[in-house]
Amino acid sequence: MADGSELKALISGQKGAWDAFVRRYAGLLLSAVRGLVREGAEAEDLVQEVFVRLCKDDFRLLKTYDANRAGLSTWLTIVARSTARDAQRRHRPPSTAIDDVPEMLLAVTDVHHEPLKLPKDLLSPRQQLVLTLLYEKDMDVADVAKSLGVDPQTVRSTHHKAMLKLRAHFAAEGG
């Protein structure tokens, strides 16, 4: 990982520091965009776009990085994925493949109308995320646990608490 002095040298505009940075992280960026774009020229163009973002406006984006808050490789991966998703949005028509739409959203038989009075904080963000992953992404408990970096029992317990809240809410609504 690049240390603080290397990053300082890079941001101050030292060509050697930039070259070392490119050599060290180009492979990581290539791996980060993999899966979002086709491998080959498209992925390589995206890596170039990430490097452009990092150094444009006198390294404005790179200067926002803080080694005390996250590792450089983690941050670069997130930046690269975000750049790739932006590029996807620019180049693709605004449509969604039918296979990507959760089956529940395609259902047309449910005509139940909910009142528009939802308690905002009924479910915590983590509870919403866990239920989204379980019921919309069809992930199993082990997968959700791995994605969130927690143990499976935490996922089960989060699910259980969320369902208790939902049952209580809809029971009170008369459903």
């Binding site: 505009g13 050599r23 791996s31 452009v52 996250a70 983690t74 991966t77 997130i78």
Partner: protein, 175 residues
């Protein structure tokens, strides 16, 4: 102890909640700072800050893959080797003095497609010219060969007893 996840009631309750939440949803949540997401991936956030990231992830669960990949690559996931061309292109991005971004792009596929179209076009044109010359030569030769034959056929028809001119003349004189 948590109950099993695969009951039929739980997904149905979540669908009701999701449908109602979609109706009452306001503006799309802005993406958090990449550094915040990176810190989340590394488990460095406070519960409150983590909730902010998870609320965003619940809205766009595909982003969880970014977090998962960032974690994997940080924990020693194998980064792809970067081709020399990628390194060369990125290396010249910064001029090493002012952080000024230099334009250096891979030749676009459109330039290549123009060259291919031009090659096919010239090949089609040369075939057309060759065809026209051949047609002209053939027509001349045909005319020069068939000219005499046509004259002979006319004379033969004139003197042909059953249908020729003199035969008709003979018939008239007989009557």
């Amino acid at each position: 102890m948590s109950e099993p996840l695969d009951s039929e009631r739980d997904p149905a309750l979540w669908r009701r909640w999701r449908a109602a939440a979609a109706k009452s949803a306001g503006r799309e949540m802005p993406a958090p700072d990449p550094l915040l997401v990176a810190a989340y991936a590394e488990g460095r956030l406070s519960e409150l800050a983590a909730e902010r990231v998870e609320a965003w992830l619940a809205e766009d669960p595909a982003r969880l893959e970014d977090v998962r990949l960032a974690r994997e690559l940080r924990q020693g996931g194998i980064a792809l080797p970067a081709p020399e061309a990628v390194l060369a292109r990125a290396s010249v991005l910064s001029d090493g003095r002012s952080g000024k971004v230099l334009a250096f792009r891979r030749p676009t596929p459109s330039g290549r497609s123009w060259r291919v179209a031009a090659a096919w076009g010239s090949m089609a044109a040369s075939l057309l010219v060759t065809g026209l010359i051949g047609f002209a030569l053939g027509t001349d030769a045909y005319s020069s060969l068939m000219g005499d034959r046509q004259e002979m056929a006319l004379t033969q028809e004139l003197f042909d007893p059953p249908s020729g001119f003199f035969s008709e003349l003979g018939e008239e004189s007989n009557t």
